[in-house]
Protein backbone atom coordinates (compact mmCIF):
# COMPACT_ATOMS: atom_id res chain seq x y z
CA UNK A 1 0.00 0.00 0.00
CA UNK A 2 1.41 3.36 -1.02
CA UNK A 3 1.76 5.48 2.08
CA UNK A 4 4.27 8.14 3.09
CA UNK A 5 5.23 9.73 6.40
CA UNK A 6 6.14 13.40 6.58
CA UNK A 7 7.74 14.39 9.89
CA UNK A 8 7.07 17.82 11.32
CA UNK A 9 8.48 19.31 14.54
CA UNK A 10 5.33 18.58 16.54
CA UNK A 11 3.67 15.80 14.64
CA UNK A 12 3.93 13.06 12.05
CA UNK A 13 1.72 13.22 8.99
CA UNK A 14 0.97 9.93 7.27
CA UNK A 15 -0.41 10.27 3.77
CA UNK A 16 -2.40 7.43 2.25
CA UNK A 17 -1.65 7.50 -1.46
CA UNK A 18 -4.32 4.96 -2.34
CA UNK A 19 -7.96 5.58 -3.17
CA UNK A 20 -9.32 2.76 -1.02
CA UNK A 21 -8.80 1.26 2.44
CA UNK A 22 -10.84 -1.92 2.16
CA UNK A 23 -10.94 -5.62 2.96
CA UNK A 24 -8.30 -6.29 0.31
CA UNK A 25 -5.86 -3.81 1.86
CA UNK A 26 -6.70 -3.58 5.56
CA UNK A 27 -3.90 -5.85 6.82
CA UNK A 28 -1.35 -4.12 4.64
CA UNK A 29 -2.57 -0.74 5.88
CA UNK A 30 -2.01 -1.79 9.50
CA UNK A 31 1.50 -3.07 8.71
CA UNK A 32 2.47 0.11 6.85
CA UNK A 33 1.13 2.27 9.67
CA UNK A 34 3.20 0.32 12.19
CA UNK A 35 6.34 0.74 10.06
CA UNK A 36 5.77 4.44 9.48
CA UNK A 37 4.99 5.34 13.09
CA UNK A 38 7.38 3.12 15.07
CA UNK A 39 10.45 5.40 15.09
CA UNK A 40 8.61 8.53 16.08
CA UNK A 41 6.62 9.21 19.22
CA UNK A 42 4.81 12.29 18.03
CA UNK A 43 1.09 12.60 17.51
CA UNK A 44 -0.02 11.18 14.19
CA UNK A 45 -2.24 12.84 11.63
CA UNK A 46 -3.57 10.47 9.02
CA UNK A 47 -4.15 12.35 5.77
CA UNK A 48 -7.08 10.62 4.07
CA UNK A 49 -7.72 13.29 1.45
CA UNK A 50 -6.79 10.88 -1.35
CA UNK A 51 -9.02 8.08 -0.03
CA UNK A 52 -12.43 8.00 -1.70
CA UNK A 53 -13.73 4.81 -0.10
CA UNK A 54 -13.37 2.89 3.16
CA UNK A 55 -15.29 -0.22 4.19
CA UNK A 56 -15.79 -1.74 7.64
CA UNK A 57 -12.54 -3.72 7.36
CA UNK A 58 -10.68 -0.49 6.60
CA UNK A 59 -12.43 1.24 9.48
CA UNK A 60 -11.46 -1.66 11.75
CA UNK A 61 -7.85 -1.28 10.63
CA UNK A 62 -7.83 2.43 11.51
CA UNK A 63 -9.30 1.57 14.92
CA UNK A 64 -6.63 -1.13 15.41
CA UNK A 65 -3.91 1.43 14.62
CA UNK A 66 -5.48 3.84 17.11
CA UNK A 67 -5.36 1.17 19.81
CA UNK A 68 -1.79 0.08 19.01
CA UNK A 69 -0.51 3.66 19.30
CA UNK A 70 -1.74 3.66 22.89
CA UNK A 71 -3.65 6.20 24.96
CA UNK A 72 -0.81 8.76 25.13
CA UNK A 73 -0.25 9.09 21.41
CA UNK A 74 -3.10 10.74 19.53
CA UNK A 75 -4.22 9.60 16.10
CA UNK A 76 -6.07 12.33 14.25
CA UNK A 77 -7.72 12.21 10.85
CA UNK A 78 -7.69 14.84 8.13
CA UNK A 79 -9.27 15.37 4.73
CA UNK A 80 -12.18 12.94 4.90
CA UNK A 81 -14.00 12.60 1.57
CA UNK A 82 -17.77 12.12 1.53
CA UNK A 83 -17.98 8.31 1.69
CA UNK A 84 -15.22 8.09 4.31
CA UNK A 85 -16.87 10.77 6.44
CA UNK A 86 -20.18 8.90 6.20
CA UNK A 87 -18.65 5.64 7.51
CA UNK A 88 -16.94 7.36 10.45
CA UNK A 89 -20.07 9.36 11.32
CA UNK A 90 -22.54 6.47 11.11
CA UNK A 91 -20.39 4.20 13.27
CA UNK A 92 -19.83 7.09 15.70
CA UNK A 93 -16.08 6.75 15.27
CA UNK A 94 -16.08 10.49 14.61
CA UNK A 95 -16.29 10.81 18.40
CA UNK A 96 -13.17 8.67 18.87
CA UNK A 97 -10.87 10.46 16.41
CA UNK A 98 -10.23 14.19 16.28
CA UNK A 99 -11.10 15.10 12.67
CA UNK A 100 -9.63 18.01 10.73
CA UNK A 101 -11.17 19.26 7.51
CA UNK A 102 -7.68 19.51 6.02
CA UNK A 103 -4.14 18.69 7.08
CA UNK A 104 -3.37 21.30 9.75
CA UNK A 105 0.16 22.17 8.55
CA UNK A 106 1.49 23.22 5.14
CA UNK A 107 0.64 20.81 2.37
CA UNK A 108 3.44 18.56 1.28
CA UNK A 109 4.05 17.11 -2.13
CA UNK A 110 2.55 13.73 -2.93
CA UNK A 111 4.94 10.80 -3.05
Amino acid sequence: MKMASIPHPELLIVQVNETRIDAAGAINFKERMRELTQDNGKRVILDLSGVTFIDSSGLGAVVAVRKSLGPDRPLELAGLTSAVEKVFRLTRMDSVFPIHTCVPVGQSDGV
Binding site: D22, A23, A24, D55, K67, S82, A83, L90, T91, R92
Partner: protein, 148 residues
Protein backbone atom coordinates in the same frame (compact mmCIF):
# COMPACT_ATOMS: atom_id res chain seq x y z
CA UNK B 1 -46.60 2.38 -6.06
CA UNK B 2 -45.15 5.53 -7.59
CA UNK B 3 -43.44 5.24 -10.92
CA UNK B 4 -39.88 4.04 -10.51
CA UNK B 5 -38.59 4.00 -14.03
CA UNK B 6 -35.49 1.91 -14.52
CA UNK B 7 -32.83 3.98 -16.24
CA UNK B 8 -30.18 1.29 -16.42
CA UNK B 9 -29.51 -2.25 -15.23
CA UNK B 10 -26.03 -3.63 -14.77
CA UNK B 11 -25.12 -7.22 -13.98
CA UNK B 12 -21.68 -8.40 -12.95
CA UNK B 13 -20.34 -11.77 -11.77
CA UNK B 14 -17.56 -11.61 -9.21
CA UNK B 15 -15.22 -14.34 -7.90
CA UNK B 16 -15.33 -14.61 -4.11
CA UNK B 17 -12.19 -12.77 -3.08
CA UNK B 18 -11.53 -9.32 -1.64
CA UNK B 19 -9.54 -8.05 -4.63
CA UNK B 20 -12.26 -9.07 -7.08
CA UNK B 21 -14.82 -7.27 -4.89
CA UNK B 22 -12.66 -4.14 -4.97
CA UNK B 23 -12.29 -4.31 -8.76
CA UNK B 24 -16.03 -4.80 -9.21
CA UNK B 25 -16.92 -1.88 -6.95
CA UNK B 26 -14.46 0.35 -8.79
CA UNK B 27 -15.91 -0.67 -12.15
CA UNK B 28 -19.51 -0.23 -10.99
CA UNK B 29 -19.09 3.11 -9.28
CA UNK B 30 -16.49 4.69 -11.52
CA UNK B 31 -17.79 3.67 -14.93
CA UNK B 32 -20.91 1.52 -15.07
CA UNK B 33 -23.35 3.50 -12.93
CA UNK B 34 -24.62 6.74 -14.46
CA UNK B 35 -23.01 9.86 -13.06
CA UNK B 36 -26.25 11.74 -12.50
CA UNK B 37 -26.88 9.83 -9.28
CA UNK B 38 -26.49 12.14 -6.24
CA UNK B 39 -23.15 11.70 -4.44
CA UNK B 40 -24.89 10.80 -1.19
CA UNK B 41 -26.75 7.95 -2.90
CA UNK B 42 -23.61 6.73 -4.67
CA UNK B 43 -21.70 6.69 -1.39
CA UNK B 44 -24.46 4.82 0.45
CA UNK B 45 -24.87 2.30 -2.37
CA UNK B 46 -21.15 1.58 -2.53
CA UNK B 47 -20.87 1.19 1.25
CA UNK B 48 -23.84 -1.21 1.47
CA UNK B 49 -22.77 -3.22 -1.56
CA UNK B 50 -19.18 -3.48 -0.28
CA UNK B 51 -20.33 -4.75 3.11
CA UNK B 52 -22.73 -7.27 1.57
CA UNK B 53 -20.08 -8.60 -0.82
CA UNK B 54 -17.32 -8.76 1.80
CA UNK B 55 -19.68 -10.68 4.04
CA UNK B 56 -20.35 -13.23 1.29
CA UNK B 57 -16.59 -13.63 0.63
CA UNK B 58 -15.77 -14.03 4.32
CA UNK B 59 -18.70 -16.15 5.47
CA UNK B 60 -20.82 -17.73 2.71
CA UNK B 61 -17.70 -18.73 0.78
CA UNK B 62 -15.49 -19.26 3.85
CA UNK B 63 -14.98 -22.95 3.08
CA UNK B 64 -14.81 -22.99 -0.71
CA UNK B 65 -14.74 -20.22 -3.31
CA UNK B 66 -17.55 -19.47 -5.70
CA UNK B 67 -19.21 -16.73 -7.67
CA UNK B 68 -21.36 -13.79 -6.71
CA UNK B 69 -23.91 -12.31 -9.11
CA UNK B 70 -24.77 -8.65 -8.61
CA UNK B 71 -27.58 -6.88 -10.44
CA UNK B 72 -27.93 -3.15 -9.95
CA UNK B 73 -30.91 -1.28 -11.32
CA UNK B 74 -30.59 2.48 -11.26
CA UNK B 75 -33.93 4.24 -11.07
CA UNK B 76 -35.08 7.80 -10.68
CA UNK B 77 -35.50 7.15 -6.98
CA UNK B 78 -32.22 5.43 -6.26
CA UNK B 79 -30.65 2.01 -6.73
CA UNK B 80 -32.08 -1.47 -6.37
CA UNK B 81 -29.57 -4.26 -5.78
CA UNK B 82 -29.95 -8.04 -6.01
CA UNK B 83 -27.09 -10.29 -4.95
CA UNK B 84 -27.00 -14.05 -5.48
CA UNK B 85 -24.37 -16.45 -4.16
CA UNK B 86 -24.09 -20.21 -3.93
CA UNK B 87 -22.29 -20.44 -0.59
CA UNK B 88 -23.34 -21.35 2.94
CA UNK B 89 -26.69 -20.05 4.19
CA UNK B 90 -26.97 -17.31 6.81
CA UNK B 91 -26.84 -18.77 10.34
CA UNK B 92 -30.44 -19.61 11.37
CA UNK B 93 -31.55 -18.45 7.94
CA UNK B 94 -31.63 -14.85 9.11
CA UNK B 95 -29.66 -11.67 8.61
CA UNK B 96 -27.57 -10.52 11.60
CA UNK B 97 -29.23 -7.77 13.63
CA UNK B 98 -26.24 -5.45 13.16
CA UNK B 99 -26.25 -3.58 16.44
CA UNK B 100 -23.51 -1.02 16.91
CA UNK B 101 -21.31 -1.83 19.89
CA UNK B 102 -21.13 0.89 22.51
CA UNK B 103 -17.51 1.84 23.05
CA UNK B 104 -16.32 3.24 26.30
CA UNK B 105 -12.55 2.94 26.57
CA UNK B 106 -9.75 2.89 24.02
CA UNK B 107 -8.82 -0.74 24.60
CA UNK B 108 -12.46 -1.78 24.18
CA UNK B 109 -12.98 -0.09 20.81
CA UNK B 110 -14.49 -2.57 18.34
CA UNK B 111 -12.40 -3.37 15.25
CA UNK B 112 -15.24 -5.10 13.46
CA UNK B 113 -18.95 -5.74 13.56
CA UNK B 114 -19.79 -2.57 11.64
CA UNK B 115 -20.87 -4.25 8.42
CA UNK B 116 -24.47 -5.22 9.08
CA UNK B 117 -25.03 -2.05 11.05
CA UNK B 118 -23.99 0.00 8.00
CA UNK B 119 -26.12 -2.15 5.68
CA UNK B 120 -29.19 -1.82 7.88
CA UNK B 121 -28.67 1.89 8.47
CA UNK B 122 -28.20 2.87 4.83
CA UNK B 123 -30.55 0.52 2.96
CA UNK B 124 -34.29 0.09 2.62
CA UNK B 125 -36.36 -3.05 1.92
CA UNK B 126 -33.51 -5.32 3.00
CA UNK B 127 -34.51 -8.90 2.25
CA UNK B 128 -32.77 -12.27 2.50
CA UNK B 129 -33.97 -15.67 1.45
CA UNK B 130 -32.46 -19.07 0.79
CA UNK B 131 -33.66 -20.74 -2.40
CA UNK B 132 -32.24 -24.21 -2.90
CA UNK B 133 -28.47 -23.77 -2.91
CA UNK B 134 -28.67 -20.01 -3.41
CA UNK B 135 -28.58 -17.06 -1.05
CA UNK B 136 -30.57 -14.13 -2.37
CA UNK B 137 -30.10 -10.71 -0.82
CA UNK B 138 -31.82 -7.60 -2.04
CA UNK B 139 -32.05 -4.00 -0.90
CA UNK B 140 -32.75 -0.51 -2.10
CA UNK B 141 -30.84 2.73 -1.63
CA UNK B 142 -33.19 5.67 -1.82
CA UNK B 143 -32.09 9.00 -3.22
CA UNK B 144 -32.85 11.76 -0.75
CA UNK B 145 -34.04 14.57 -2.98
CA UNK B 146 -33.56 17.15 -0.26
CA UNK B 147 -30.00 16.15 0.53
CA UNK B 148 -28.38 18.71 -1.74
Amino acid sequence: MASDKVTGTTRVTIPSNAHAVRDALCALFETLIPNQMPQDTRDAAQIVLAEALNNIVEHAYAQSPGEIEVTLAVTERGVTCDIVDFGLPMPNGQLPCGKLAVHTQLEDLPEGGFGWYLIRTLSQDLNYRREGARNMLSFRIESKQSAH
